[in-house]
């Protein structure tokens, strides 16, 4: 029973740099995930234009009947979004933790090229731990 279905990280130009899915539902192949990521990037940008108020920072939460999508955009333009079960709590906090993992295990890796797909084992390991911990905490409630 996975509360989180998948996690995406997109760079500031809209390219997918990280995709991980956690459930048996909604598995996507590489091309589809790339496409979905660019679509989300565009929608996010358009939402900022649609806003009647200046300085809108884009979509943070999308609620559908079968899933929720929480999105966090850093001030540097990198977007972290997670597709999860409807009503899952504390996804914003999880996204912030994932952002911190990104700044540690990805950005501080001198061999990681900026804006390129993330292939950092330490990031994967720590991410799995964080999501696992989150899942356990969710089940416990």
């Amino acid at each position: 029973m996975a509360a989180i279905y998948s996690l995406y990280i997109i760079n500031k130009s809209g390219g997918l740099i990280f995709y991980k899915d956690y459930g048996s539902k909604g598995r996507m192949d590489t091309n589809d995930s790339l496409r979905v990521a660019s679509l989300w990037h565009s929608m996010h940008a358009i939402s900022q234009q649609l806003s009647p108020i200046n300085g809108c920072s884009g979509i943070e939460l999308l609620e559908a009947d079968t899933f929720d999508l929480h999105c966090f955009q850093s001030l540097t333009g990198t977007k972290f979004f997670v597709v999860c079960e409807t009503g899952t709590q504390h996804m914003e906090a999880l996204l912030k933790v994932i952002y911190e993992l990104y700044t540690d295990y990805v950005l501080k890796n001198p061999f990681y090229e900026m804006e390129m797909p993330i292939r950092c084992e330490l990031f994967d390991i720590n991410l799995t731990q964080v999501v696992q911990k989150d899942r356990v905490a969710l089940l416990g409630r």
């Binding site: 940008a45 001030l75 540097t76 333009g77 912030k96 950005l107």
Partner: protein, 186 residues
């Protein structure tokens, strides 16, 4: 859920893992010496230090944003205060102050009271013209570029050259927000 409040430089500095200051000073000194040996020309070394700083800055900014929980700064004045009060404190453990604002608020000086990079350092006569701490100007330039600001960062005063303090001038050239090009007619 209300967003977390921004953290002070002191609080963050206290919470991160720290390294021996002398190791840091020695490592930086070794880098500068090696660059001087490899590149020979002082101007080249200045450029290289700036470039290295730039490469650090573009990565450091996300670390800064993640740890400090700041929200978007309303103007360049706030940005400069953030760099001096939170940034320098968080990464170098030193307090800096902002002064000498120009009329339109796009240019200011950041003055460092203390500078761990230069402990025990004296510049020889052969290295006049070297900006020993030029990595710092690159770091600021790189970090600000990733948050949509093109800046020019130069040294005004440098204690290794005989001045009484370390003063960096940070000039905002332009704001370059990431515009979604949906208005393009192409």
């Amino acid at each position: 859920m209300p967003p977390a409040a921004p953290r002070s430089g002191d609080a963050i500095f206290a919470s991160v893992e720290r390294v021996n200051a002398e190791l840091f000073t020695l490592t930086y000194g070794a880098i500068v010496r090696q660059l001087l040996t490899d590149l020979e020309e002082v101007e080249e070394v200045n450029k290289q230090l700036d470039q290295m700083g730039y490469n650090i800055g573009i990565r450091l900014i996300d670390e800064f944003l993640a740890k400090s929980n700041v929200s978007r700064c309303v103007d360049f004045k706030e940005t400069a205060e953030m760099i001096a009060k939170v940034g320098f404190k968080m990464f170098l453990g030193v307090t800096a102050s902002v002064m000498n604002w120009d009329a339109d608020g796009t240019c200011c000086s950041i003055v460092l009271e203390d500078n761990p990079l230069v402990d025990f350092v004296e510049l020889p006569d052969t290295c006049q013209g070297l900006y020993y701490c030029n990595i710092l100007s690159g770091v600021i330039r790189g970090a600000l570029e990733m948050v949509a600001m093109k800046t020019e960062v130069t040294w005004i005063r440098d204690m290794l050259r005989g001045d009484d303090a370390y003063e960096l001038q940070v000039k905002l050239l332009k704001q370059v927000p990431e515009e979604y090009p949906y208005k393009d007619d192409e």
